[in-house]
Subunit: 101 residues, 2 copies
């Protein structure tokens, strides 16, 4: 992973009856995000301890690529307008490679 | 999350018939790691796209805390001696908070 690459770890906790819809929107977001030139990875996971907790691990070539992602039409249409209102909780960490120990 | 904190994102791909055992070992590792003074979080997730892919998101107060984790008896007994031989693939990213955009 190049040093400039940014990893986003997003924890989404959908409202009780919204998990199915959020998972469907995640799949759509994954397909469209992976077509962005600066997106290096977009993976969706489900927590083993709290099944209603979804984790996204996304990778962007650099800050500009992450910004382009957040300005994209699919981010607006799928995340801002449809996923966020379905979430009870949301926590996003923006991380960068730490020099190997 | 304090700036010195280190996030470890570990992707484990167990061998075909080893998923159950690896998940059980993950649960044990989670319980024991969370008792380490410098461990701030230890979460296990399963991939939605490849069910046999397990993701661990771990948090340590600083480099010394991560090192203490890797030198711990439970890391040796559970991860080194039991999990690693069961893995077909393993990828570990060591990450640090990136300054907010």
């Amino acid at each position: 992973m190049n040093a400039a690459a940014i990893t986003v770890v997003a924890r989404w906790q959908p409202a009780p009856d919204a998990l199915g819809e959020v998972l469907e929107l995640c799949a759509q977001m994954r397909r469209q995000s992976l077509e962005e030139p600066g997106c290096l990875g977009y993976e969706a996971y489900q927590s083993l301890d709290e099944p209603r907790s979804v984790l996204l691990v996304e990778r962007y070539r650099d800050e500009a690529a992450l910004e382009a992602h957040k300005q994209s039409a699919h981010y607006r249409a799928l995340v801002v307008e449809r996923v966020l209102p379905l979430l009870a909780e949301r926590k996003v960490d923006i991380l960068r490679a730490h020099a190997p120990l």
